[in-house]
Symmetry: C2
Subunit: 327 residues, 2 copies
């Protein structure tokens, strides 16, 4: 009888977590701390994009470069770490061209400038496979905001809007629902899929007021489950309070089952965070001053189960799967 292959989460938890050192948080966080001792908090994180997996082979190279950097910056933002710089590893397929390299570098340069996160070094290699971009990004935090600090009674918040990217992926794939959307709606969703917005303006807000935080990259429902599990708690979310863009609302009005995709699909790169009842108003106020909408969507509860999502009638929603997984 052949053994079932590990899921992505199992691979990390069972195979690699035993190797984790001090500052790695058992590989259960978005990022790690260099084990420097004392109060010096250098935050390190890495995320890779593979052509055909994380983006389409014909996506504009500059946009791909920007996304590769931004998904890493999103991890830094979630840990309240200000960017210091990044390393780039590029595995180039046989058919790369100088024009591709120039466009990629131009997008990367724009991202580095925009977020004050310079290129520090890297490695280029050939691959017989698809273009593979791996970035390791570094930041400085005065307080590392982990996933494990949520306590029962804390309020649960999420930044921006949820589900646009997952629906944008549907647009990029030319799914049937996308054909029925207005041109502007399609463009908005597609743009949110291609170009996430790292919530770096929230750094001070999170540092001062959040009890726990992470970035939403694999779907709100599953990522919230991870944060609550890391904190040893459970939670309750009112689905009606999950912030949706006008574009997402238009799509969901056409096909109500897209709501589930919005809440469980990946690539949001929004910030999910918690704050005590006392800190919650200050958190929301500070986020507003920083120019980022932060919606209160639920409450942390005692327990070890995944969070429950309630619809407007108070019924519990069962998602067929909580989040995106690569395998």
């Amino acid at each position: 009888m052949s053994e079932r292959r590990f899921s992505e989460d199992e691979l990390i938890a069972e195979i690699f977590a035993p190797l984790a050192g001090d500052g790695a948080f058992g590989l259960r966080d978005d990022a790690a701390l260099l084990p420097l001792g004392g109060a010096r908090e250098i935050v390190v994180t890495t995320d890779a994009l593979v052509s055909g997996v994380h983006f389409f082979p014909d996506d504009p190279p500059g946009l791909v470069a920007k996304k590769a950097l931004r998904v890493n910056l999103s991890d830094l933002a979630a840990k309240a770490a200000a960017p210091l710089g990044f390393l780039l590893t590029l595995a180039l397929p046989p058919d790369w061209t100088n024009d591709w390299a120039r466009s990629f570098a131009a997008g990367l340069a724009e991202g580095a400038r925009e977020f004050a996160c310079p290129l520090l070094g890297g490695d280029t290699t050939a691959t017989p496979g698809p273009l593979t971009i791996s970035i390791a990004a570094f930041g400085r935090a005065t307080r590392f905001v982990s996933r494990s600090g949520a306590r029962p009674g804390d309020r649960i918040f999420v930044s921006g809007t949820i589900g646009d990217a997952a629906l944008g992926l549907g647009v990029a794939r030319g799914e049937a629902f996308a054909e029925r959307l207005g041109e502007g709606t399609r463009a908005h969703l597609l743009d949110r899929y291609r170009l996430p917005q790292p919530r770096l303006p929230l750094i001070a807000t999170l540092r001062e007021h959040a009890s726990a935080a992470m970035d939403v990259s694999d779907g709100l429902a599953g990522d919230l489950a991870k944060l609550l599990r890391a904190s040893g708690v459970s939670g309750l979310v009112e689905l009606g309070r999950v912030p949706l863009s006008a574009a997402a609302r238009e799509a969901i009005a056409l096909e109500p089952e897209l709501l589930s995709r919005a809440v469980t699909g990946g690539d949001d790169y929004e910030i999910l965070c918690c704050a005590s009842v006392d800190a919650a108003p200050a958190l929301a106020l500070a986020a507003g001053k920083a120019g980022v909408a932060l919606a209160e969507i639920g409450v942390v509860t005692v327990g070890a189960e995944p969070p429950q999502f309630l619809d407007s009638s108070g019924s519990i929603i069962n998602f067929s799967r909580l989040s995106f997984s690569h395998f």
Copy 2:
């Protein structure tokens, strides 16, 4: 008329170097410094291995893991930086198995323990292409030993022995010369290809006595040319002083043209360094005490040309190419 495609060096120098920030040394060094200000020297480096490019698909997974970590540790050693930890990005092909993952992690754990360099975090993803392993490693240096500090009159040194890995690759490929070697010789060369020895014991030696250093990963001749160019100098190397193992000598005795491959082939992961005439004896002595052989092979000269290699008759050798390039 179509434009010639960039070489690996041109891609870095022309396309990516303009993006380099403070601490990146114009992408001309093995590693970079985090721009922290003050005397805090956190060294960061990254190197990737692609199946079918950097190792054979049927190489033992534990050995591949060890090599992936060691090539990064070699960069840290060359900058006189003590390892702090690393991040791992793993792009897994469709046919990966749990056994593969277990063996890979076991090798990685052994390497992490042996070199006191813990896993801090990472990213796993699927790829339709070959297994791709990217590691970013971090170290702490009290003096970052750059490539650019060599001065005319400095002595040039290299650690260990040169060329074993390039010849070992020939063994792995089953080239004709390998069939004529003894079993022990073949095993030695193959082992040196598969499992480089990061020269971490040289950290204090380099910090205290070296004017410049780098690790030899793309061939001694080409890498020396890079170091001298970064320093704005030239050099003269006596080929007869380049340290060769007994195994390499056996291969070269059979096929004299393999000497050129030994000096220009990649994957040595030895330390190439320079020291002033005054510091040279102390450098060699300290290396000996640290248990690493360091051979004096030449002298830094005034000039901007690539280094010249002299044979025993004093004639200049012309290598058809100085070093390995991926494209």
